[in-house]
C-alpha cells in the first residue's frame, strides 16, 4: 500500500545508484588488478588494503540497494547480479591482499580460468551428476514419495504406523546411507541415482502428507455433506490445498538431490561425476578445479530450483491477493 518508489521517478537517486555501483565495482576491479597474484611478487600490506576493500564493498552495497528499487525487470534481477560481482571482486582482492596460496583458497580468477580450461571434463562430470544421478533420482524419488504420501493419507493406519519411521529414516545422513547402497547396487552411476531417490523421498512424503492434511475444515465438512468418496475429496479439496506444500518440498528436494549425488560419489565411482572430480582434485591441491566443480554444481542446483519454481508458478496461478 506504500507508494512504489522507483529510481526512474527520482533521477537523483538513479544517478547516485549508478555512481555507487561504478565506484564499488570499478574500484574493486582496479584493486584486484593492481594487487599481485599470490605467489608472484611480495605480499602487500594486508591490513591497509582490507580497509580499502571493505569501504569499496560498502559503497557497492549502497548501489545495490539503490538498484533494487521499483518493480522493473532490471530492479528484480540486477541487484543479485551486482551482489555476485561485488562478492567475486571483493574475494579476489582479499585473497590477493592476503597472498593466500592457491592450494588453500584459489582466487575467483583462477576458478574462472579452470572452468574454461577443464570445460570438457567438467561438462561430462556435470552430465553424469546432474542428469543421470540427480535428475533421474529426483524424478524416481518424487514419484515414489507422492505415491507413498497418497497411501499414507488414504490409510490412516499407515500414517500412524509408517510416518514416524519416515522421520526416523530422514535423519540418517547420506554419509551413512551411501556406503550401504553403493555396496548393494554397485559403483556405477545407478547407485548414486538410488541414493538421490532415497534422500528425495522423505521430504516429498512429509511435505505431501502435510499438504494433503492441511485442507480447510469447512471444505472437508462440505465434501462430507456431499458424501463424497475419499477419492473425490482428495481430488477436489486435498490436492489443490496440498500443491503449495508439495512444491515447497520439491524445492528443498531439488537442491538436496544434487548434493546427495555429489556426496554419494565420495563413496565410490567409476571415475565420473562432480563429486569424484572434487575428491580427486582436493588430493592434488587443484582447488581451482574443485571450486570450478562446486560452481557448476551450484549453477545446476540453482537451475534445478528455478525449474521447480517455474513449474510452480505455472501450475499455481494463485488467486490469493497478498
Amino acid at each position: 500500500m506504500t507508494p512504489v518508489r522507483t529510481a526512474a521517478a527520482r533521477p537523483g537517486a538513479a544517478l547516485l545508484t549508478a555512481a555507487a555501483l561504478l565506484i564499488g565495482v570499478g574500484g574493486l576491479l582496479l584493486v584486484a588488478l593492481t594487487l599481485p597474484v599470490p605467489g608472484d611478487g611480495t605480499p602487500p600490506n594486508a591490513r591497509l588494503w582490507l580497509a580499502g576493500i571493505l569501504a569499496l564493498l560498502a559503497v557497492g552495497a549502497v548501489g545495490v540497494r539503490g538498484a533494487a528499487q521499483g518493480e522493473s525487470r532490471a530492479a528484480r534481477t540486477l541487484p543479485a547480479a551486482f551482489t555476485l560481482l561485488l562478492a567475486v571482486l571483493g574475494t579476489e582482492a582479499l585473497l590477493r591482499a592476503y597472498a593466500v596460496p592457491a592450494g588453500l583458497i584459489p582466487t575467483p580468477g583462477r576458478v574462472l580460468s579452470a572452468l574454461w580450461t577443464a570445460r570438457t571434463v567438467l561438462l561430462q562430470d556435470t552430465y553424469t551428476t546432474f542428469v543421470l544421478e540427480a535428475l533421474l533420482g529426483f524424478v524416481a524419488g518424487t514419484v515414489l514419495g507422492l505415491g507413498l504420501a497418497l497411501l499414507v493419507v488414504r490409510f490412516r493406519f499407515l500414517e500412524r504406523g509408517l510416518l514416524p519411521y519416515a522421520a526416523l529414516f530422514s535423519s540418517i545422513p547420506i554419509v551413512a546411507l551411501a556406503p550401504v547402497i553403493v555396496k548393494a547396487v554397485g559403483l556405477d552411476w545407478p547407485s548414486k541415482t538410488v541414493v538421490v531417490a532415497v534422500t528425495v523421498l522423505f521430504p516429498v512424503v512429509v511435505g505431501a502428507v502435510r499438504g494433503l492434511q492441511s485442507a480447510s475444515r469447512l471444505h472437508l465438512d462440505l465434501m462430507h455433506t456431499y458424501a463424497a468418496t475419499p477419492a473425490q475429496t482428495f481430488r477436489d479439496v486435498r490436492v489443490p490445498g496440498a500443491l503449495p506444500f508439495v512444491f515447497g518440498a520439491l524445492k528443498v528436494a531439488s537442491t538436496l538431490a544434487l548434493i546427495s549425488a555429489i556426496v554419494a560419489e565420495f563413496f565410490g565411482t567409476n571415475g565420473h561425476g562432480l563429486g569424484f572430480r572434487i575428491q580427486i582434485e582436493v588430493g592434488r591441491f587443484g582447488l581451482d578445479i574443485v571450486w570450478a566443480a562446486i560452481v557448476l554444481a551450484s549453477v545446476a542446483g540453482i537451475a534445478f530450483f528455478a525449474l521447480v519454481n517455474a513449474l510452480e508458478t505455472r501450475l499455481l496461478p494463485r488467486a490469493g491477493r497478498s
Binding site: S216, D221, Y226, D236
Partner: protein
C-alpha cells in the same frame, strides 16, 4: 427451472417416519479446564416438507444442532434419526444440502466452478454448467461466474454458497444464517425464491436465522432456543396461509406470531 413432485406443504404422507427425530439430544464440547454444554435435552420431530426455523441468541447451539443433524459432529448423548436412519446413513444417501454460516468457497475455483462442485462430485447427469448458471442467476450473480471468491464482497460470497447448496436439488436443506450478510431487498427476493422452491419441490428446510420476521414469513414452525446450556425453549406453529407473499407481512396474525416468538426469546435471554 422444472421441478417434479410438488408436494403439499405441511401435510406429510401418513405413516411416513418424521424426517428428523431428536430425543434428549446433547452435545458437550471439552474445553481447556472444563466443558461447554452446547446443547442439552433437545427434543424435536420434523415432518417431511416442513420449513423449520431455528432462532435464538448467539452461542445457543443452533449451528451445533445443524451440524449434528448433518453428521458433521457426534452427539454426546440422546438420539437423532434422519428419515428413520442414522445421520450418517442419510448423509451417505445425499439427502441434504448444507449452507454454512461462512461461505466456505474454494479459493482455487472460480464462482461457476464452485457451484459446479457438488454436481461433479455427485456425478449428476445432464447439463451441469447450465444448471449451475441457473442457480447463479437465481442469486443474482450470473455476471460473476468467472470471478474468484476473493473478488467478491462478503454477501456475494454467501450467495454463491447458497447457489452451490441448491445446485444438486437435495430433498433436505440445512441453512445456517444464509441471508445474514444480505441487504433487505436481496434478502426478501431470496426469501420468496426459497419459498417457491420449497413449495414446488416439497423439500424440507431447516433454517437458522436471527430475524424474527424472516422466521415467521418462511416457516411452518419456529424453534426458539435459549443460551448456555443450549435448550429448546419452545416451538411456535406458524399457521399463516400458503403461498405467502408480501401481503403476508400485513396479516395481523403475522404480528401476533412475531410477538410470541419475541417473548419466548426474551424469556430465554433472561
Amino acid at each position: 427451472m422444472t421441478y417434479t413432485s410438488p408436494a403439499p406443504p405441511t401435510s406429510p404422507p401418513p405413516n411416513e417416519p418424521p424426517i428428523v427425530s431428536i430425543r434428549d439430544l446433547q452435545k458437550v464440547f471439552p474445553v481447556p479446564g472444563g466443558e461447554t454444554v452446547a446443547l442439552k435435552d433437545a427434543n424435536l420431530s420434523i415432518q417431511r416438507g416442513e420449513f423449520i426455523s431455528l432462532i435464538g441468541p448467539s452461542g445457543c447451539g443452533k449451528t451445533t444442532l445443524l451440524r449434528l443433524m448433518a453428521d458433521l459432529e457426534q452427539q454426546t448423548g440422546g438420539e437423532l434419526l434422519i428419515a428413520g436412519r442414522s445421520a450418517d446413513a442419510a448423509r451417505r444417501e445425499r439427502q441434504y444440502g448444507y449452507v454454512f454460516q461462512a461461505p466456505a468457497l474454494m479459493e482455487w475455483r472460480s464462482v461457476l466452478k464452485n457451484v459446479l462442485l457438488p454436481l461433479e462430485v455427485m456425478n449428476v447427469p445432464g447439463d451441469r454448467v447450465g444448471r449451475a448458471r441457473e442457480m447463479l442467476k437465481l442469486v443474482g450473480l450470473d455476471k460473476f461466474e468467472r470471478n474468484y471468491p476473493w473478488q467478491l464482497s462478503g454477501g456475494m460470497q454467501q450467495r454463491v454458497s447458497i447457489a452451490r447448496a441448491l445446485a444438486f436439488d437435495p430433498p433436505l436443506l440445512f441453512m445456517d444464517e444464509p441471508f445474514g450478510a444480505l441487504d433487505e431487498i436481496t434478502r426478501e427476493h431470496l426469501n420468496l425464491e426459497l419459498l417457491r422452491l420449497w413449495r414446488e419441490t416439497g423439500k424440507t428446510v431447516i433454517f437458522v436465522t436471527h430475524s424474527i420476521p424472516e422466521a415467521v414469513f418462511l416457516s411452518t414452525r419456529v424453534v426458539v432456543m435459549t443460551a448456555r446450556p443450549g435448550r429448546i425453549e419452545g416451538v411456535v406453529d406458524i399457521d399463516l396461509p400458503h403461498p405467502r407473499s408480501d401481503d403476508t407481512r400485513e396479516d395481523p396474525r403475522f404480528f401476533t406470531l412475531a410477538t410470541e416468538i419475541r417473548e419466548l426469546l426474551k424469556k430465554g435471554h433472561a
